[in-house]
């Protein structure tokens, strides 16, 4: 019985994800795209719940829907002015891109569908957070720290890049 609910949840979430992702790509207004992106991210969080990854779901919603989307919106605000109606257009290699993507889908879909996956031997343990914490802070502590440093560096780098370079400007003027 629980399987059916899981299935329903999966199909609903999957549909939301695919549709919102399509909208992200298709819409002509970049702001709308970002909004649909948020929808997509949130649904993804839901999908993670169906996969027994509750901590990840939380992270997903926090980081993606909460931080990334907002950041992108700010980015758009800094850049796009005037008419937002046609800020998100296709370029002239759209058809070729569609072809490549179709090929990718065919190949990936075929491979995903035909590969004989092993079935899980047992269920996912309940205490996901503890389990993750355990390996993250023991076995993967160095990547963890590196990730932290990476974030810091990215932060500094982003600030540096986005900062207005006064001298260059003066030079340009």
């Amino acid at each position: 019985m629980e399987g059916i609910w899981t299935a329903v949840a999966f199909y609903l979430l999957a549909a939301t994800i695919v549709v919102s992702a399509l909208l992200v790509v298709m819409l002509k207004n970049i702001v709308h795209s970002v909004l649909w992106l948020a929808v997509c991210f949130v649904s993804m969080g839901g999908l993670f719940l169906t996969l027994d990854a509750d901590f990840l779901a939380a992270v997903q919603v926090l980081v993606y829907a909460g931080a990334v989307c907002i950041m992108v919106v700010f980015g758009i605000m800094l850049i796009q002015r005037g008419n937002m109606g046609s800020t998100n257009l296709f370029n002239n290699q759209t058809k070729a891109a569609a072809g490549v993507v179709a090929l990718v889908l065919v190949v990936c879909g075929y491979l995903a569908a035909t590969t004989p996956w092993a079935s899980p031997a047992f269920a996912v343990p309940e205490k996901t957070v503890e389990s993750i914490a355990e390996i993250m802070l023991t076995k993967y502590v160095i990547p963890f720290e590196v990730a932290a440093i990476l974030l810091l560096v990215a932060l500094v780098g982003a600030i540096f890049l986005a900062k207005e370079v006064k001298k260059a400007d003066a030079h340009n003027d």
Binding site: V18, L37, Y64, V72, G75, N91, C108, L161
Partner: protein, 105 residues
Amino acid sequence: MLTTISLAHYMVLSALLFGIGLFGVLAKKNAIAVLICIELMLNAVNINLVAISKYLTPALFTGQLFAIFVITVAAAEVGVGLAIIIAIYRNRLSVNLDDFDWLKW
């Protein structure tokens, strides 16, 4: 068959999402849109990671852990990417990727 959600379902979903993201990356003019679509692709990967973690190695949690790392990196990437786009915009007054063909020389 439809009712039991197997790994293949997630795989196909992930492939779909990846394809949509890829399409966006290849076909959108706006640099920010491309950035967004890259996020979609990364999410597709995350789906895979988590799904495989659940269905193949439920006890190890490495899949989930990697997903976390991916999210971290993605966040950093978005930050830096946006910063780059802003810097470019400031110099070129454009975020249209069609205008950026400096790699030609």
